[in-house]
Amino acid sequence: MNSNNQDHQVNFEPTKEVVLKLSGVSKSFFLHQRSSQPIEVLQNVHFEICRGECLALEGTSGMGKSSILKMIYGNYKVSAGQILVKVSHDTWVNVSMGRAREILQLRKACINYVSQFLRVIPRVGAFELIKQEAMFHSHEVQSNAQFEKTSQQSPLGLSHARALDERVAHLLEKLNIPSRLWHLPPATFSGGEQQRINLAKSLINPKPILLLDEPSASLDQANTDIVIELINEARQHGTAILGIFHDTDVKKALTTRTISMHDFQPKT
């Protein structure tokens, strides 16, 4: 099924195109200051995700759900096994073997990650924060020459910038962020507002893989519904989603498949 056929169907069928594969993945922490005994968290994690799927990780806290997301994103090191991310129709990158540069490029091009925490940069306003995701975290690195070009405000540059501004504004409006907050740094926002900014950063620049860690944690019902709508939209556009959802309603509204963490616990 062509994932580019977007109708706003809630019952959008996932494709068969695998974009993420985990096999034999294990994670242990060696905390040298504490003791010489490693803390084993995960053992032999294996699953695949296809475009248009939303796979939910099920399990109680401490079972390593967040760790899986972090390993895929390259935030945690993989102790054993392979995490393969599809980057083109015949090319895969192994995140567990990847060098820093490769993982950075993967993050730029393939993987969006919405964590529970919004990392705030001191003086950048919410609008700018989101806009930058689309401008600088896309595939290309601007050279000085390109910077000069855009700063000279060529007609092409201007119309691109305006279109982007409109998209960001539209998204913020959809997420119920009042316009008076747009140019303020999110450090002073409420938890719910910060979470929505976090989401917006991933939604403005859709990538093949979206990792969600409790996306509705600090949100009220109305905002949760909006977020569900936006995430489903992303899935319909062909995003492969891997998520942790404690809210059962949210899980029901988004998930196409679940996987239990019980299978991946270390055997003692």
């Binding site: 015949d90 073997m97 490769e102 940069i121």
Partner: protein
């Protein structure tokens, strides 16, 4: 199954450059007498990447920076740089004149103490214009206009163009130092603890500015710092040094959230929680 990095994009002919590292440091070794200050340090840096070199005092991080910038000679090792016009250049093999030219036109160096990187008794405009003048710029009006642009970019009030740096605050002096380096459109910026000694709020402003500049201009940056929060904010890659050796390197967030080496773990856990 091909395990390779995603190819560099770009439509304006820079794609070849995009795949080659801008800076390659190979096996640098430096001793001061019997003390080994740098022990086989290597890394690569691509355009647009920000690398933080962290470590405690005596770890060799400042020595590393000074060796890269050819302020001091290395005993062993290479610093390869992909220059704008002449391809790959071994900084240790070229003549001093060529070295100085590259450092003036393609590199920038920001000192910890702005007084080391500024001429304190000439105006801000003259400080920024100096590089242009030493490269042959001979039109006062144009030099002044360029200096004004640079001041704006580092968010210093343009009315201060003719003021002496002596009258600037520490944070402003530091930003002036950065402006002085930016005027020749460098591709690589080396920074030695640029925020130490500054008030916290001033630090935040400066770091934010640096981040924006690096992003906007696609600069490659090597920043030496002992402050992990600075690394977290500014750098996408990090290298931990101890006793002249690189003991762990990788993505900044990975090193801070999941450090592997005992020393890295010690360093990270020592950050005071505010």
């Amino acid at each position: 199954m091909i395990l390779d990095a995603t190819t560099g994009s770009s439509s304006d002919g820079h794609s070849i450059q995009g795949e080659l590292p801008l800076l390659q440091v190979k096996g640098l070794r430096k001793s001061f007498g019997s003390r080994l200050a740098l022990d086989e340090v290597s890394f690569e840096l691509y355009p647009g990447e920000v690398l933080a070199v962290v470590g405690e005092s005596g770890s060799g991080k400042s020595t590393l920076l000074n060796c890269i910038n050819a302020n001091i000679d290395v005993d062993h090792g290479q610093v390869m740089y992909q220059s704008r016009c002449n391809g790959a250049v071994d900084m240790g093999q070229i003549s001093e004149a060529q070295q100085r030219l590259i450092k003036k036109t393609e590199w920038g160096f920001v000192h910890q103490n702005p007084r080391d990187g500024l001429i304190m008794n000439v105006s801000a405009g003259a400080n920024i214009g100096e590089r242009l003048m030493s490269l042959g710029a001979r039109h006062y009006g144009q030099i002044r206009a360029k200096a004004l642009e640079c001041l704006q970019e580092v968010e210093i009030d343009t009315a201060r163009l003719d003021d002496l740096p002596l009258s600037f605050s520490g944070g402003m002096q530091q930003r002036l130092q950065i402006a002085r380096n930016l005027v020749t459109q460098p591709r690589l910026l080396l920074m030695d603890e640029p925020t130490s000694g500054l008030d916290v709020s001033v630090q935040a402003k400066l770091l934010d500015l640096l981040k924006q500049l690096a992003q906007r201009r696609g600069l490659a940056v090597v920043i030496v710092t002992h402050d992990l929060a600075v690394a977290r904010l500014l750098a996408n890659q990090m290298m931990v040094m101890q006793d002249g050796r690189c003991i762990e390197a990788g993505l900044t967030d990975q090193l801070l959230d999941d450090p592997q080496h005992p020393y890295s773990q010690l360093l990270v856990s020592s950050i005071l929680q505010s």
